[in-house]
C-alpha cells in the first residue's frame, strides 16, 4: 500500500501548495492595489486614530508585504481569519455559515446528478442509436450548453412566477416557515437552485457515462457474463457500470470546481446567501479579511473534492493500487 500512501502524500502537498498559492495571489493583488490602511479607512469613515492604530498593528500594515503575508499565514494555521470589516463578525464563523449554505445546494446537486446519470446513461448506452438514445444525448448537450443564468431565469419564471410552486429567492422564508417546519422551509427554498445545478451536472455526467458505457458493454467479460447466464441488468449495472465509471469520477473534481467558480452567479440569480454572494459583497465593500477568507475556503473545498475523488478512484480500480 505504500505506493498509494506516497501518491496520497503527493496530493496533500499539492493541495497545500494550492491553498498557499491562491491565498498568496489574492493577498498580493490586494496589497498591490494600494495602501490597505486607506482601504480600511475608506470602509469605516468614522474610524478614530486609535482604531486605525489598532488595526495597523493587528494586520501588520506598517510592515512590508512579505511579512504581512507571512503573518496572515501564521494566523491561518491557528484558524484565525480575522474579523469582517463590513459585518463585524469573525470571518471563520461567517465562512462556516455561508459556506454551509453553499454546500447545502452544491453537494445534493452533485449526488442527484450522479444518481440521474447512473440510471439514464446505461439505458441509453444499451439502446445505442435508438430514439431514446438520441433524445438523451440531445437533452444532455442542451443542458450542458445552457449558461447558468438562462436555466436559472427560466426555472424562476416558470416555477416561481408563473406556477408559484417554489420561492424565487433566499434560503429561508422571512416570516413564517413553510408549514411551520424550518426544515421543510429550507428544502422548499433549495428546490430551484438545486434543480438548476443538478440539471447542469447531470448533463455532463450522462454524456460522459454513456460514452464510457458503450465501450464497456462491448467488452469480452460482458459477453462472457452473458454466456454464463447472468441476467442483463446485472451485466449492465453490476459489471459494465463499475468499469465505465472512472471517467465520471475524474470529472467529479472538475465539476465541483466549476460549480464553485460559478457560485457567485448562481447565488446572485437565486439570491442565495452562500459563499459566492459573500465574496461579491466582500469585493464590493473591500472587506479584505473576508476576501482572503473566502479564497482560502474555496481553495480548500476544491482540494478536498479532488482528494475525495482520488480516494474513490483507488477504491474503485484495484489496478491503480499497485502504482
Amino acid at each position: 500500500m505504500s505506493g498509494a500512501l506516497r501518491y496520497l502524500l503527493r496530493r496533500l502537498i499539492f493541495a497545500f501548495a494550492l491553498v498557499v498559492g491562491v491565498s498568496a495571489i489574492v493577498f498580493f493583488l490586494i496589497n498591490a492595489v494600494g495602501n490597505p490602511i486607506a482601504m480600511l479607512v475608506a470602509g469605516q469613515p468614522s474610524a478614530t486614530e486609535d482604531q486605525i492604530a489598532q488595526l495597523t498593528a493587528y494586520y501588520h500594515l506598517d510592515e512590508p508585504v512579505g511579512a504581512r503575508y507571512f503573518a496572515w499565514l501564521v494566523r491561518l494555521l491557528h484558524f484565525d481569519l480575522g474579523t469582517s470589516i463590513f459585518y463585524n463578525q469573525p470571518v471563520w464563523e461567517m465562512l462556516r455559515v455561508w459556506g454551509g449554505e453553499t454546500l447545502k445546494i452544491q453537494v445534493p446537486s452533485i449526488l442527484l446528478a450522479l444518481l440521474l446519470a447512473v440510471v439514464v446513461a446505461p439505458v441509453a448506452a444499451r439502446r445505442q442509436n435508438s430514439a431514446l438514445d438520441a433524445g438523451v444525448i440531445g437533452g444532455a448537450l442542451l443542458g450542458q450548453a445552457m449558461p447558468v443564468f438562462l436555466t436559472g431565469i427560466l426555472l424562476i419564471l416558470v416555477f416561481a412566477y408563473w406556477l408559484g410552486w417554489a420561492p424565487s429567492y433566499g434560503a429561508y422564508s422571512l416570516r413564517a416557515p413553510l408549514l411551520g417546519s424550518p426544515v421543510l422551509d429550507g428544502l422548499w427554498h433549495m428546490a430551484l437552485p438545486v434543480a438548476m445545478l443538478t440539471a447542469f451536472n447531470a448533463a455532463s455526467f450522462t454524456l460522459l457515462l454513456r460514452a464510457s458505457m458503450v465501450q464497456a458493454l462491448r467488452q469480452d467479460y460482458v459477453v462472457a457474463g452473458r454466456a454464463s447466464g447472468l441476467p442483463e441488468w446485472r451485466l449492465v449495472w453490476g459489471h459494465a457500470l463499475r468499469n465505465a465509471f472512472s471517467p465520471v469520477l475524474t470529472y467529479l473534481g472538475i465539476a465541483f470546481g466549476l460549480m464553485l467558480a460559478s457560485a457567485p452567479v448562481t447565488e446572485t440569480v437565486f439570491t442565495w446567501p452562500g459563499l459566492g454572494a459573500l465574496y461579491i459583497n466582500a469585493i464590493q465593500q473591500l472587506d479584505y479579511p473576508v476576501i482572503m477568507g473566502v479564497s482560502v475556503a474555496v481553495a480548500v473545498m476544491l482540494v478536498l473534492a479532488t482528494l475525495l475523488t482520488d480516494i474513490a478512484y483507488v477504491v474503485l480500480d484495484p489496478r491503480v493500487r499497485l502504482r
Binding site: 467488452q219 469480452d220 467479460y221 459477453v223 462472457a224 457474463g225 452473458r226 454466456a227 454464463s228 447466464g229 447472468l230 441476467p231 446485472r234 453490476g238 459489471h239 463499475r242 468499469n243 474503485l316 480500480d317 484495484p318 489496478r319
Partner: protein, 326 residues
C-alpha cells in the same frame, strides 16, 4: 442414440454496407454425449459464429437466418430469454479465446465466479465459496483458497485461462464450448492448458465443442472433427480418419501446411494453399473451394456438393469424392 447437440442447416448472416455476409451458410454438425467435436477452419470459416449461434450470442447486426439447433432435444433459437438464462452457464458454458479480456478486471476471481454459481444454484456464500475453491483446485490452480481474493491482473495468462475453464465447469454443464482456448497463450502455456483439458476430458467426460484453427489442438483432444471452409462444411469424420486418410482437398491441404517434426523438410517453402479466402459477401458459385482447389473441374462451378456419407461415419462435400450435387 440422439446427439446432445444437433445443428442442421445453420445459417448466420450479417447485413453490411457491402451486402449480406453469410458467415455460416448451411452447416451441419453434432456433438454426442461425452464426445469432443473439433470444429476446424481458418479465420473467416464461420466456426466462431457457429459456436456463438449455439449459445444464442451472435453479435448484432448478425442473426440466425436459417437451420435448427437442438440441445437435449429442445430447439434453441426459439427459446425465451428466461429459458436461456437457465441454460447458459448451467447446461452449457463457454471458454473464450482471450482470458485477459473475458474476466472483469475490477472484481476478484472469487466474486466473479461466486456470482455465477450463486445465481444458478441459489447457494449460500459459504457453499458457493467451497464450490469455487473446489473448481479452482480441479483446474490445477495451486493454492486455490487465497487465489479467490486475487484480481485477474495479478495472475499469469495460463492461470487466467484455468480460471476461465473453471468458470465454465462451475455448474457441471453437459456441453462446453471452447473458442480457441489456447490461441492467445504462450506456446509453453498452451501445452499446459492442453494437458489440463485432456485430463479434464478423462475425468469429467463433459461433451465439448472445440473451435480452433490449430490442427495440433484437435489432434490431441478431439474425438471427431468437422472441417469448415467459407461458412460450409467440407468434411466430418472420426479424428483418426481425418489425420490418416482425409478425403476433402481442403482438409488435405490444411494438413499439409502444418509444419510437422516427423516429416522430412522439403527444400523450398512450406506448402501453402494457393489463393485467398473468398469475399464473404460474394462467395463463389458451386463449391466454395473450387477457385483454390487443385482438383477442381467444370462441375464444381456448376453444382454445389452436398455433405454425403461416402464411407462409414465419414461425410464429405466434394463432387470428386462422390458427394451428391444439390
Amino acid at each position: 442414440m440422439s446427439a446432445l447437440l444437433e445443428v442442421e442447416g445453420l445459417r448466420v448472416s450479417f447485413e453490411t454496407a457491402r451486402g449480406v455476409v453469410r458467415a455460416v451458410d448451411g452447416v451441419d454438425f453434432q456433438v454426442a454425449e461425452h464426445e469432443v467435436l473439433g470444429l476446424v477452419g481458418e479465420s473467416g470459416s464461420g466456426k466462431t459464429m457457429a459456436s456463438m449461434a449455439v449459445l444464442g450470442l451472435v453479435p448484432r447486426p448478425g442473426r440466425i437466418t436459417g437451420g435448427t439447433i437442438r440441445f437435449e432435444g429442445r430447439d434453441l433459437p426459439t427459446l425465451p430469454a428466461k429459458a436461456w438464462r437457465a441454460l447458459r452457464g448451467r447446461r452449457m458454458a463457454m471458454v473464450f479465446q482471450n482470458p485477459a479480456h473475458s474476466l472483469n478486471p475490477l472484481l476478484t476471481v472469487g466474486t466473479q465466479l461466486g456470482e455465477i454459481v450463486r445465481y444458478h444454484e441459489r447457494l449460500s456464500r459459504g457453499a458457493a465459496r467451497e464450490r469455487v475453491v473446489d473448481m479452482l483446485r480441479l483446474v490445477g490452480l495451486p493454492d486455490p483458497a487465497p487465489r479467490m481474493l486475487q484480481y485477474p491482473h495479478e495472475m499469469s495468462g495460463g492461470m487466467k485461462q484455468r480460471v476461465c475453464i473453471a468458470r465454465a465447469l462451475l455448474c457441471q454443464p453437459a456441453l462446453v464450448l471452447a473458442d480457441e482456448p489456447t490461441t492467445a497463450l504462450d506456446v509453453t502455456i498452451q501445452a499446459q492448458i492442453l494437458d489440463l483439458m485432456a485430463e479434464l476430458k478423462q475425468r469429467l467426460r463433459t461433451s465439448t465443442l472445440l473451435v480452433t484453427h490449430d490442427m495440433g489442438v484437435v489432434a490431441r483432444l478431439a474425438d471427431r472433427i468437422t472441417v469448415l471452409y467459407a461458412g460450409r462444411v467440407c468434411e466430418t469424420a472420426d479424428s483418426r480418419m481425418i489425420f490418416r486418410a482425409p478425403l476433402h482437398p481442403y482438409t488435405t491441404a490444411l494438413l499439409e501446411s502444418v509444419p510437422r517434426v516427423d516429416r522430412v523438410a522439403t527444400p523450398g517453402a512450406l506448402p501453402v494453399i494457393a489463393g485467398r479466402l473468398p469475399d464473404p459477401a460474394h462467395p463463389p458459385r458451386g463449391c466454395r473451394f473450387h477457385p483454390r482447389c487443385p482438383e477442381a473441374m467444370a462441375d464444381c462451378v456448376a453444382h454445389t456438393p452436398a455433405l454425403t456419407e461416402v464411407a462409414p461415419a465419414h461425410w464429405v462435400a466434394c463432387l470428386r469424392r462422390g458427394s451428391a450435387a444439390c
